[in-house]
Amino acid sequence: MSRFVPADFQPRLPLDRLILSEPPEEERIEMDVLFVGAGPAGLAGAIELAKLVKADNGEISIGVLEKASALGEHNLSGAVVNPRAFRELFPDLGDADFPFSTPVTQEGLYLLSATGARRLPTPPTMKNHGNFIGSICEIVRWLGAKAEDLGVDIFPGFPAEGLLTEGDKVLGVRTVATGLDRDGSELSNYMPPADITARVTALAEGTRGPLSQAYCEWQGLHGKNPQIFALGVKELWELERPLDRVIHTMGWPLPNDAFGGSFMYPLEPKVAALGLVVGLDHPHRSLDVHELLQQLKMHPLFRKYLEGGELVEWGAKTIPEGWFYALPPRRTGDGVVILGDAAGFVDVPSLKGIHYAMQSGMYAARAIFDGLKANDTSAATLSAYDRMVNESYIRDDLYRTRNIRPAFKDGFYKGSIKAGLMTVTGGRVFGKRITMHADADMARGSGGGVEVTPGALTVSKVDAVFKSANATRDNIPSHLIAADDVPADVAEFYSHVCPAGVYEVSGDGLRINAPNCIDCKATDVVGPRWMPREGGSGPAYKRM
């Protein structure tokens, strides 16, 4: 098979498992508001809601479910953070109180060739003066402590595996069972799923959230463009030589028909985050973001910082990149709201989503609070959240740059020219919507691979998974759903898409090493489906 379309081999999202219509268990836990996912969106939402309730002298139960075994362990971002949402959420605190590492002082954007680096003027959308470098893991732990101080109940280690529904209404979620053997039988410490009902369920699952996806599909909520994704692979390095600036690059080692770039941020003078982000809509079968990142590290620009240093953490995650035109037409429904990355609030040109995630959580909290006061959590009442977002800087920022990412669908150079024009004109040139295809609908041909010579700076996928601190119990049932009889070409494609070595070509077919999975969701976009699994599985990021 020379060319294939990944969608032809992708199993459908199993709505029957994700949307549950039987009544909740009698032994259910009842809450007023349940946030699914303890990332910046869910935690900022919980904090804002708890503050509103407190100011009103009320008392409600607010819960936050998190699939990682401890806060922050499944969070990964660059990250250069715009402090705007922090300032609004914590008006009594100053920037120095926030969990940031250091302000951005210098930055440089470079166009790379294999050996050279040409400095480019920083486009206005990428200017970071006034922003801060931080680790999302640390940010999340800090927000979690703030939420708990306000009486929010956070439950790490409890992923949600399905939405409890009645008619079109969301009643809550069911958690994943723990203590199952590989064949699905119960081990001695088996713990059954628990049903949690809530007057409002806030889906803050992050990128490619299965419940959010299922809800949108169930309710037919499709944006004008399909949502598209990029995969970011990131490493944390302790350096011998200090890094004093934020670096972004474009060009090498990516092929011209792939969209993406790299970043390197100093968390401390001698601790740096380094990553490569590549759109999953490239036409190649063998393009491998992890391998490209290994190659990138050989470039003199990075090499001079990395040599003599030590790789201390590794991780990967997808990023929703479809933005304005891919947003679901509503992010609210009866008893439900969708926040942050799960809704697609990411601005690609500025490479930011954390402040939008937090802000969306805060807006949703205000709508939920009003709904609880009025004892009405219907779609009509909660739609105040959609209105707040639509009238906010989230919408303005995403609209202004609405066509920049789609412009790159024709390749890097044409895309750059179009993007440049759009940036200077505030999006008015090419203002009409550029139609996009879903990543899985893009045909893949051979090529795109790179040969990386292992060396002191490189890390293999297996070793990389080790550096993600993935300690998944190795006898849990597989949580990945692949098609039967995947042809070798497609299996090879999966093996390159997945940065963690979950998929391997085995003979003429596909072999799945499910415990390697670090929840980046890349193959969920173009191949086998990712389903929630036992709490605490996956990576244990500390400072990503």
Binding site: E138, D153, G179, N189
Partner: protein, 250 residues
């Protein structure tokens, strides 16, 4: 049955150790703290003893800083009834002052069994349980992998080099738990919610002075380059010699 479990907040075993600037402690930045692995077996065993007895109380006690409250909550979420934090400013590398603080708390509590993990994965001292037993004047069986208790007495099995010791004891007693004693339960969601409402008493205590002073905490030396000791079966004596006298692992 009245049971106490003495627990400790320790870094996760997966934690990468970095030494703090003073060269005497680990750098706690970014370190994940958990309920000491062996203490999980102790908590589980206490819960099972209470369940088998049909009634009773499981009290968890720890010596630590404010942050140890979280560790107590973990044990409460598993099912313990109440917690006591003996709040101190810092740690003691000498286990005796800690054992004294625990013994002072437990004395007069009329506990049938006081359980510990056999060791804390940070200090690796294997000490606090037997010390508390001595201070309370009760028998102790340490590193227990099998336990039966009935009618005011018990039988325990503990692994020793090349065998298993079978020990009979009378109550009250101290037991320290080894891996294999049981399979600790996961805290259930409901258990976690209930844990927040269970009583947790915080008492300020001052640790007695210990008799050990930390000069340094250091990372072990870098791994040395390996070598081929020989070819074929004839190389076996050379290998054994290297393992015994160089590596000192046999």
């Amino acid at each position: 049955m009245k049971l106490a479990v003495c627990i400790k907040r320790t870094p996760d075993t997966e934690t990468r150790i970095k030494i703090a600037g003073d060269g005497k402690r680990i750098d706690e930045a970014g370190v994940k703290f958990v309920l000491n692995t062996y203490d999980e077996y102790a908590v589980e065993e206490a819960l099972q003893l209470k369940e088998r007895a049909g009634s009773g109380e499981v009290v968890v006690v720890t010596v630590g800083t404010e942050a140890s409250q979280e560790t107590i909550r973990t044990a409460l979420a598993m099912g313990a009834d109440r917690g006591v934090l003996l709040k101190v400013d810092g740690a003691s590398i000498d286990p005796l002052p800690v054992a004294k603080a625990l013994a002072d708390e437990l004395r007069g509590g009329e506990y049938d069994v006081v359980l510990f993990g056999k060791l804390a994965i940070d200090d690796y001292s294997h000490a606090t349980g037997p010390m508390v037993a001595e201070l309370l004047g009760v028998p102790c069986v340490s590193a227990v992998a099998k336990l039966e208790i009935a009618d005011g007495k018990g039988t325990a099995e503990r692994e020793i080099e090349g065998g298993v010791e079978v020990v009979e004891f009378s109550l009250p007693a101290v037991i320290t738990a080894d891996k294999g004693l049981n399979e600790p339960r996961y805290p259930a969601l409901r258990g976690i919610m209930m844990a927040k409402k269970k009583p947790l008493e915080v008492k300020d205590v001052a640790l007695a002075d210990g008799g050990l002073e930390i000069v340094e905490l250091a990372l072990p030396p870098e791994r040395q380059e390996g070598r081929i000791v020989g070819e074929g079966a004839d190389a076996v004596p050379a290998l054994i010699d290297a393992l015994r006298n160089e590596a000192k692992v046999l």
